[in-house]
């Protein structure tokens, strides 16, 4: 990174560094928006009678966004009260953000694929928030807000473990109720074991790439020094 670019990053980051209350408030707002979107999505699914209604809590997106709400709310209060996030919170934030971001990327790919066939997919605004806008905003937070320690590399296996467990449960449940949130988990939709391994591997690959990218972002040279400015005057 050149000095000039470094300065630009710092200037951007300073937008939230100047007062931790800004960071905390934005995180609370993000979490609140996520709650509103989750509730809308629940009622949209129930009212439109889509399959989304009765399987609301079985979606990876919904599960990971609920986790995201919890983690982001904690990190909001953390921003109000602490200069640097504790290690366990950094770990949780990386994991939550990896899951929601990956769910968004995979969803965007699937909807784009359907659009290629000129099929119009009705995506409610809450789905767009949960899949696209909230993860994007949270990544900006991750990249620029101060007070974040470098994320540990061990988040990557943790991030990968959840979708594996989730997929196993979902495939078992699918044999009972006939519903699969991602088509490739239904073995009839794919040509055979090879395609299953390739598609599943690709999905896992996205999880891995996203989590690695988030860790790398947190380990940028200039990002390591970030400490929130204390709201109290005792800090120079």
């Amino acid at each position: 990174m050149t000095g000039g670019a470094d300065r630009r990053w710092r200037r951007l980051a300073a937008l939230s560094w100047w007062h931790p209350a800004v960071t905390g408030s934005l995180r609370l707002a993000t979490a609140a928006t996520c709650v509103v979107a989750l509730i809308h999505r629940l009622f949209w699914g129930l009212s439109s009678n889509t399959i989304a209604g009765e399987n609301f809590f079985a979606y990876l997106t919904i599960e990971s966004n609920i986790f995201f709400v919890v983690v982001w709310t904690i990190s909001a209060f953390d921003a109000f009260h602490r200069q640097t996030d504790p290690r366990w919170l950094v770990l949780l934030r990386t994991v939550a953000l990896s899951w929601t971001t990956t769910a968004g990327i995979v969803f965007a790919f699937l909807v784009w694929q359907a659009g290629e066939r000129a099929i119009r997919i009705d995506v409610p605004w809450s789905d767009q928030l949960l899949h696209f806008f909230l993860p994007a905003f949270a990544i900006v937070d991750w990249a620029f807000a101060a007070g974040r320690r470098p994320a540990p590399w061990r988040v990557v296996p943790i991030v990968l473990a959840y979708p594996l467990v989730w997929a196993a449960v979902t495939m078992w449940r699918g044999t009972l109720i006939g519903w699969y949130p991602y088509y490739f988990l239904d073995l009839r939709q794919i040509s055979g074991p090879l395609e299953f391994v390739l598609t599943g591997g690709a999905a896992l690959g996205v999880f891995a790439v996203v989590s690695v990218a988030l860790v790398l972002i947190s380990r940028r040279r200039y990002a390591r020094r970030g400490m929130r400015v204390s709201p109290s005057p005792r800090r120079p």
Binding site: I119, D122, W179, Y183, L185, R188
Partner: protein, 458 residues
């Protein structure tokens, strides 16, 4: 209202003639008024109130641009035959079943949709074991009928609908601005639709008879053109070694498609079948347009909602893929989800199948693909106009003969309902062009089509 009155006189032959209407060239072309057909001399008659320049309300359909319809109704295209519809109604590996108007012997009708739904339910009943999970794609009339039958038989039925409403190509608008709810899809019944009429009566939907014709040129009313040139064309084609487009048969048999009389008939044919004469089979021509019809003038939604009562229905859920083998079927949804069932009934419009809106894995057999490719999907668009004023004519079917009107076929609901509502119908290439217009352009085109009903400039 300060609207001046002008004389109309229904020609002596109007109403006695089977079918008629007038169109000129299908493409809009400058059309000098002198090119209008020679009007039959008419006697002075009662003076109707001229139509105002602006209707109090208007709505219109857009089936040709609707991704879940991709047309209004199927037609037997040149080179295809009713056998293609029978082929399409054959199950594939006892797993994938087809229904809908395109698979019936009464394409483009409510009766065809109903009978196909009953037929497919019987087919599934023969193939499936009790309690099996059956998906029905499409909550239109045929899907609803099929689902209700299957449910009665004891299957676990799920109906999947891409739109957020049910009804498919049966679409009653719910709008307080309209004393008669506009019907953007199927709503007309012929005398041979008696079974559907009885079903509709069960839902308390009022049905009114439409009767009488009025054919207008720029110079007054004329006799409604008759079907003779088309009948001659069909007779000419019948002994030929190969099928021919109806338009070619018409020309070869001495007819003139540019003749205002003949063009009028062709425009009505397009408005009722969705196809232009160049696309239609001369061997298997459509039934002559019926102008002794009944119209459903109430809310038809219960007609579909009734059978679907208590059946699991997923709305706003688009099926984009169907994977099947000898043990079951998996439906791939637009959101990337998958639904596993034992068998599936596909009732999507033929236009969706033709455009490969649903990908089949493995691909459908050649026989089915051949039938889907051979049959045609026609386009019909409808525009409803409500006026504040009345006009004095008892004719329900209005025809615009000659000139460059976009919409040549109109239904006047005033005699049947007492409400001043005109329903314009346009078919074929003209319908596709009409669907591309903005609302303002469409309204202007509709009113311009009614110009001869307007008072002459003072």
């Amino acid at each position: 209202m300060g609207i001046s009155r002008r004389t109309f006189f229904v020609g002596a032959g109007a109403g006695a003639v089977a079918v008629l209407l007038a169109a000129c060239t299908p493409e809009p072309a400058p059309n000098p008024t002198t090119a209008a057909p020679t009007p039959t001399p008419t006697a002075p008659g009662p003076t109707p109130t001229a139509l105002p320049a602006k209707p109090a309300a208007f709505v219109r359909s857009a089936w040709s641009t609707d991704p879940y319809a991709r047309g209004a109704m199927s037609f037997t295209a040149v080179g295809s035959s009713p056998a293609d519809r029978e082929t399409l109604s054959e199950p594939v590996e006892s797993r994938v079943f087809f229904a809908g108007e395109a698979t019936s012997d009464r394409p483009g009708t409510l009766s065809g949709a109903v009978s196909s739904g009953e037929r497919v339910a019987e087919q599934v009943g023969v193939a499936a074991a009790n309690g099996e999970r059956i998906a029905v794609i499409g909550a239109g009339l045929s899907g609803a009928i099929a689902a209700a039958r299957l449910r009665q038989t004891g299957f676990e039925v799920t109906v999947i609908e891409a739109r957020d409403r049910i009804g498919g190509r049966l679409h009653t608008l719910d709008d307080d601005a309209w004393p008669v709810p506009p019907q953007l899809g199927a709503w007309l019944l012929s005398p041979d639709d008696s079974e559907v009429q009885q079903r509709i009566a069960l839902h308390d939907v009022p049905v009114e008879a439409l009767d009488g014709e009025l054919a207008l040129t720029d110079a007054g009313s004329v006799e409604a053109p008759d079907a003779a040139p088309l009948e001659a064309a069909i007779a000419w084609a019948e002994p030929r070694p190969a099928d021919a487009p109806l338009l070619d048969a018409l020309t070869e048999s001495g007819g003139d498609p540019d003749d205002p009389d003949t063009a009028a008939f062709l425009a009505l044919l397009a408005a009722t079948t969705g196809a232009d004469a160049a696309e239609l089979s001369a061997w298997f021509p459509p039934k002559a347009p019926d102008l002794q019809q009944e119209a459903a003038v109430g809310d038809l939604r219960d007609f579909v909602a009734g059978p679907l009562d208590d059946i699991k229905l997923l709305r706003s859920t688009t099926v984009v893929g169907i994977a099947y083998d000898d043990t079951g079927v998996s439906l791939r949804l637009g959101t990337g989800e998958a639904l596993s069932v034992d068998r599936v009934v596909v009732t999507v419009p033929l236009g969706v199948l033709k455009d490969e809106g649903i990908e089949f894995e493995p691909p459908l057999p050649f026989s089915h693909r051949g039938a889907i490719a051979a049959l045609g999907m026609g386009d019909v668009e409808t525009i409803w106009l409500r006026f504040d004023d009345v006009w004095d004519t008892d004719a329900a079917f209005w025809h615009v003969v000659g000139g460059d009107a976009v919409i040549r076929s109109w239904i006047n609901l005033a005699p049947a309902t007492g409400e001043n509502i005109l329903v314009g119908r346009v078919g074929g290439e003209a319908a596709r062009a009409f669907a591309q217009l903005s609302d303002d352009e469409a309204l202007a085109a509709a009113l311009a089509s009614l110009a001869w009903f307007l008072p002459p400039a003072q």
